[in-house]
């Protein structure tokens, strides 16, 4: 019987590896649900990387395992293996292929980054260039806490802002909702400018453009909502921003991701994504200082953070964070 030629086997293996990789890339179920407009962008990038990674993994591990079995030393054979020292075309090939892959991934990352609003935090279009700064009355060059700024004074127009801004499509628009987020050991405080609302949980409407102005009061914290695929360090003295549109109603965890002290692991709260009607009702109820949802309502004007925290501390400690269904929504 004639032997099946090697190129045929190579082709069959290539097709099999490709199909397996594509399937794994689309069905790995490793990521939580997508709840923001940025999440599908990030997930698609990850899926592409998983697909390529699976193919490379199978090929390299396959070669290793095959070698270990096929080329093991026969008993009693003390001779050496083939004296092959290199193969220039092969080496050029396996240098070029990864190079092309990483350049491609790099370009794809840039595109995703732009669509996520990565080039426009703080509403700047200078791609991170420092803006000309107005002379400041203080002798230090640190932005004051948002919580301490006078009405009408905008920290964000004076200094470099980090994070994610508006996506290219809505860059010139004002956000629908702005929330000032302050991280402190070991809680997040959410203030809604112009309404007097202060809360220990973040309430936002679904499908609307939300801007979080993030700062830290003591040490570095990091604001992270896994279902939004967004994270930004809250840096003392450095204003930061996250701008996003939540796409799915529900309750999601807000996690501090940067080591901020002994109880860093306990610095957890939640973000509640309401329907537009529910959100309006929530705002109305809080403005009217009616019954609070979970945290204690209090005017931010006449309370220091410490007083506010002291009041809600028992609630924060007891609040069990409900996690949204972690079934991924893969199309």
């Amino acid at each position: 019987m004639k032997q099946i030629p090697a190129p045929f086997w190579t082709l069959v293996l290539g097709i099999a590896v490709t199909l397996i990789s594509l399937w794994v890339g689309q069905n790995h179920h490793l990521l939580p649900v997508q709840a923001s407009e940025q999440a599908p962008l990030v997930d698609d990038l990850f899926n592409v990387m998983v697909t390529i990674g699976t193919a490379l993994f199978i090929v390299v591990q396959g070669a290793i395992v095959y070698s270990l079995i096929r080329f093991r030393q026969p008993k009693g054979d003390d001779t050496d293996g083939l004296p092959i020292e290199g193969n220039l075309p092969l080496e050029a090939f396996w240098t070029a292929i990864p190079a092309v892959i990483v350049v491609g991934l790099g370009l794809y990352s840039v595109v995703v980054f732009q669509e996520m609003g990565g080039f426009s935090p703080g509403g700047h279009h200078g791609q991170g260039a420092m803006m000309a700064m107005a002379p400041q009355p203080s002798v230090i060059d640190v932005a004051p806490l948002i919580a301490q700024t006078e009405a009408g004074e905008d920290v964000y127009s004076k200094t470099q802002v980090y994070g994610f801004g508006a996506s290219p499509l809505v860059q010139m628009n004002q956000p629908d909702v702005t929330v000032n987020v302050t991280g402190m050991q070991y809680a997040w405080i959410f203030r809604y400018p112009g309404t007097g609302i202060t809360d220990g949980e973040l309430h936002i409407p679904v499908g609307q453009d939300v801007q979080l102005k993030i700062e830290a009061q003591d040490v570095i914290h990091s604001f992270w909502v896994p279902q939004f695929r967004l994270k930004q360090d809250a840096l003392p003295g450095e204003p930061a921003e996250l701008r996003f549109v939540a796409t799915r109603e529900g309750t999601y965890p807000v996690v501090c991701a940067e080591l901020c002290g002994a109880y860093h692991g306990g610095m957890r709260t939640q973000v509640i994504v309401h329907s537009a009607e529910d959100y309006a009702a929530w705002v109305a109820s809080r403005v009217a200082e009616a019954a609070p949802t979970t945290a204690v309502a209090q005017s931010a004007v006449d309370a220091t953070d410490a007083e506010y925290l002291a009041k809600i501390a028992p609630e924060l400690a007891k609040a069990s964070v409900q996690i949204a269904q972690s079934t991924p929504t893969h199309p």
């Binding site: 490379l56 293996g81 083939l82 240098t95 990864p98 350049v103 980054f113 980090y162 992270w224 692991g265």
Partner: protein, 558 residues
């Protein structure tokens, strides 16, 4: 079969310092300047610190078996996580891979009697034990540093001030040790090769050490600067990193990562060198692509200096930086891939001997493929922003540091133990060690990726109850890893005393360290060796006439 041969040419012994014939046990506790003594000092010390760091890891995993903080206090947990990282990096992998294997092997591989600066070498080693003592003292004076091995201000400036200062001083000492060692390696390799050895006839471990040393010289002083500024901020009222007094917290992160990203290459480049030595010997084949592997080490060294901001994608990082450092980070995958493919090609067509050294080398290869691929995903800023500071990152770097560096150190020990001690390690016990380590590594570090992507941040003593099941699995894996070191340490101690005699070249290897006795005499050779063949001339006819790339060797100087 090709055998290493040395033509004995009468050369005057360049020693004659009135050395004894053999070192006694107490010589290993003195300011001894013999590179082999210093290498063993580094290895033994680092293996002791490995146990300390591992003990901390086991306590941390015990804490994390349940969601609540119910075994250690949160402060103590943070002290353990800080010191686990610090010890495993600065007092285990770096001293074992660079100080231990580097000092022991480099002069033997290039045909030198010792390092270029023997006293500097001894000084570099003796900076390490006091650093360990300072870290130990930090636990008794204030409960240990608690800001993570990164020690970001402002947290590190307002938490446990005295232990934090001691921690900084300890790191400055090991950093100084690293700089002194690097100068020594570069000068030794540059100037002290046996006259007949050209650059491209050096073993690849020497190339890896060149790249490592250059990287350490460029990067380490920057860490020292950062730590000195941090000490001033904590103790002397300056405000380099205090935002409420004009300082900037992001500057520290730049200074820190400018060293600490290259530090991960300091931990893996020597291991790449070990891989390039172990695989050809036990596969009985020349290394595939000698020059590509040598130059890829230098490329990693160069590119590795320009990727540090990928640790700061979610921090105070401008958009252009996020993009630039995404691209530069992804580029590192290319030279690393070249190495992986070359080692795999070296296996292809060999006569593979299943020694424990080879099992660990191949285990490393498998682990590193996975760790490298997860590293590429982390290089892409949009995805990194989701998983930064989560258990995904912890899983990734343990894959490349445990599945990479620690496996490599194990492979090196199994491979060179006969040379260092003159006795063979017990192979069956070694295989038990390998199996336990391999299973433990997979079980401990694979689920961490899932945890991170699902939403578990790193460095937490208490976590959301939904992550309990996977954490219990990780804890079981950690216990298996803890058990896995028992056969190894027993094997080393027992074999050192009672193992079978090894002879000068038990593996039939071709590099120069196998041409002298095991253990080598005090000045390495009675007469200096002369190169007669390349370091990997397996299976070559007339092996004594060609170098690693098949070219004729340089004529030895008379």
């Amino acid at each position: 079969m090709a055998q290493a041969e040395v033509s004995m040419k009468p050369t005057e012994i360049q020693g004659g310092h009135g050395h004894p014939d053999k070192w006694k046990w107490y010589d290993y506790f003195t300011f001894n300047v013999d590179h082999k003594v210093i290498g063993i000092q580094y290895l033994v010390t680092s293996f002791l610190f490995y146990l300390v760091g591992g003990f901390m890891a086991v306590l941390m995993r015990t804490e994390l078996a349940t969601p609540d903080s119910d075994f250690l206090s949160p402060e103590l947990y943070n002290a353990f996580l800080t010191n686990h990282g610090t010890i495993m990096i600065f007092l285990w992998i770096v001293p074992a891979a660079i100080g231990g294997f580097g000092n022991y092997l480099i002069p033997l591989m290039i045909g030198a009697r010792d390092m270029a600066f023997p006293k500097l070498n001894a000084l570099a080693f003796w900076l390490n034990p006091p650093a360990g003592l300072l870290l130990a003292a930090s636990f008794f004076f204030g409960g240990g540093a608690q800001s993570g091995w990164t020690s970001y201000p402002p947290l590190s400036e307002i938490t446990a001030n005295l232990p934090q200062t001691l921690w900084c001083l300890a790191l400055i000492m090991v950093g100084t040790s690293s700089i002194l060692g690097s100068v020594n390696f570069l000068v030794t390799i540059w100037k002290m090769r046996v006259p007949s050895m050209a650059w491209d006839q050096m073993p690849l471990f020497c190339w890896a050490m060149v790249a490592t040393s250059v990287l350490a010289l460029f990067a380490t002083p920057v860490l020292a600067a950062a730590l000195i500024l941090l000490i001033f901020d904590i103790n002397f009222g300056t405000s380099f990193f205090k935002p409420d007094a004009g300082g900037n917290v992001v500057v520290y992160q730049h200074l820190f990562w400018f060293y600490s990203h290259p530090a991960v290459y300091l931990m893996i480049l020597p291991i790449f060198g070990i891989m390039s030595e172990v695989i050809p010997v036990h596969a009985r084949k020349p290394i595939f692509g000698y020059k590509a592997i040598a130059y890829s080490s230098l490329t990693i060294c160069l590119v590795g200096l320009f990727v540090w901001v990928h640790h700061m994608f979610t921090s105070g990082t401008a958009p252009w930086m996020r993009i630039f450092f995404t691209i530069s980070t992804l580029i590192v995958a290319v030279p690393t891939g070249i190495k992986i493919f070359s080692w795999t090609a070296t296996l292809w067509g060999g006569k593979i001997r299943y020694t424990t050294a080879m099992l660990f080398a191949v285990g490393l290869l498998s682990m590193f493929v996975f760790g490298g691929l997860s590293g590429v995903t982390l290089g892409a800023a949009p995805f990194d922003i989701h998983v930064h500071d989560t258990y995904y990152v912890v899983g990734h770097f343990h894959y490349v540091l445990f599945g990479g560096s620690v496996f490599g150190i194990y492979a090196g020990i199994y491979h060179w133990f006969p040379k260092i001690t003159g006795r063979m390690l017990n192979e069956p016990l070694g295989k038990v060690h390998f199996v336990l380590t391999f299973i433990g590594t997979l079980l401990t570090f694979t689920p961490m990726h899932n945890l991170g992507m699902q939403g578990m941040p790193r460095r937490v003593a208490m976590y959301d109850p939904q992550f309990a099941d996977l954490n219990q699995l990780v804890t079981v894996g950690a216990y298996i890893l803890a058990v896995s070191v028992i056969p190894f340490y027993f094997n080393v101690i027992w074999s050192w005393i009672k193992g079978a005699k090894a002879g000068p070249n038990p593996w039939n290897a071709m590099t120069m360290e196998w041409t002298t006795d095991s253990p080598p005499i005090i000045e390495n050779w009675e007469v200096l060796p002369v190169l007669t063949h390349g370091p990997y001339a397996y299976g070559m006819e007339q092996a004594d006439q060609v170098g690693p790339a098949g070219e004729p060797l340089a004529t030895p100087r008379s």
